[in-house]
């Protein structure tokens, strides 16, 4: 994807991060629901699937997934506040905070999964 000159500013990157994280999460959702369905239909298969989460590269993939989820969540909160609350001039600060919060949540999850998982 080529970023054009007029798109090179922080709030456009906040927009595209929110949009891409949402799309990637939407692609992941069918797999997520399929695995959940194993709890009802095939518990042994579910246990086998969940044992993958002990593998280091699956933990890293989970880290990415939780980062996308938390980035989308906090970015979505910023957008809802932008559209439904009185205007605030601190949009760049809020976008940076959403990124930092997403990073903090996902890193906490990763450290927790690595050392206590």
């Amino acid at each position: 994807m080529k970023v054009s000159g007029h798109q090179r500013h922080g709030l456009w990157f906040a927009y595209i991060s929110h949009r891409l994280s949402g799309l990637l999460l939407a692609l992941f959702l069918p797999l997520h629901f399929w695995v959940l369905s194993l709890a009802l239909n095939d518990r042994a298969a579910l246990d086998g699937f969940l044992s993958w989460t002990d593998l280091w590269y699956v933990k890293v993939a989970e880290y990415g997934l939780v980062f996308l989820l938390s980035l989308h969540f906090f970015g979505g909160l910023r957008l809802m506040a932008l559209e439904w609350l009185p205007w605030s001039a601190r949009q760049k600060t809020y976008a940076a905070t959403a990124l930092a919060a997403g990073f903090a949540v996902s890193t906490s999850f990763f450290l927790s999964a690595t050392f206590y998982g």
Partner: protein, 259 residues
């Protein structure tokens, strides 16, 4: 402007889009590098001394008329107030193109009809409430509505926000930041009697709810207006308006109170 021809003169490489409609390409010119030179100065130099057939649009040269906007290195800018030294890339070159999202008539001149037609579609026109005999309606500067109207009012119709908007690029029906910004200033103006008509107009196809809040309009507005904030205001007011009509259909044709 005088033609420069000293032996030690430095030159800037300026690539300018030439052509009409969808057909054309970039042509490069060497323009003398001078102090305090604006992008419009470069274009004028080329037209006056190198290629008189270069077509571009300007009027006031002081950032009031809004007619000289162009894409400069991929960014929409008012060229009469944009200094060359502030925006040349590392190689010292410049690329100048007609405004994005508008049909090209020739070279750097775009057809603004689409842009202004959308102002009319958004009902961003004055709806008088008084006759001449009734005199001018007093306006209190202290109210929140007046301050919201004032914050949106200094638009010079340059279409920089329209060219910066990716939603306009992907959805030609979208009314665009300038028309919606004007609609918001009228929604908050006690002298305007078209509040309901405006809210209806900006709620439909291509209306305010198409905005993805990318905020490029706010980023590049040369007058530092904030169309994103205006569009967010319209989103709130149109939602309240629709909810009121849903809960009490008898209100549908009653004039609402200002925001």
């Amino acid at each position: 402007m005088t033609q420069i021809s000293q032996p030690d003169q430095q030159f800037i490489k300026v690539s300018i889009w030439r052509g009409a409609g969808d057909k054309g390409g970039y042509e490069t010119f060497d323009v003398p590098d001078q102090e305090s030179q604006t992008i419009l100065d470069l274009v004028s130099y080329i037209q006056q001394y190198i290629d008189p057939s270069l077509t571009y649009r300007f009027a006031c040269r002081v950032g009031m008329c809004g007619s000289c906007a162009m894409m400069v290195n991929g960014v929409p800018r008012w060229t009469c107030r944009t200094h060359v030294k502030k925006i040349t890339d590392k190689a010292g070159s410049l690329t100048i193109a007609p405004l994005r999202n508008l049909p090209v008539i020739k070279d750097l001149v775009v057809d603004m009809d689409v842009f202004f037609d959308k102002w009319v579609r958004a009902e961003a026109v004055h709806h008088p409430t008084r006759s001449i005999e009734q005199g001018v309606q007093p306006v209190s500067e202290d109210t929140a509505e007046r301050q919201a109207a004032n914050a949106a009012i200094e638009c010079i119709n340059c279409a920089v926000c329209y060219a910066a908007c990716d939603v306009v690029a992907s959805n030609p029906e979208y009314l665009g930041p300038a028309a919606l910004n004007r609609a918001w200033s009228l929604v908050n103006d006690v002298r305007d009697g078209g509040r309901e008509a405006i809210l209806e107009a900006v709620s439909g196809t291509g209306g305010c709810h198409n905005c993805h809040s990318q905020q490029s309009c706010q980023k590049y507005c040369p007058n530092e207006l904030n169309p994103t904030a205006s569009i967010a205001g319209l989103k709130r007011e149109t939602s309240k308006f629709a909810l009121r009509n849903l809960l009490n259909p008898a209100n549908k044709h009653n004039q609402g109170e200002p925001a």
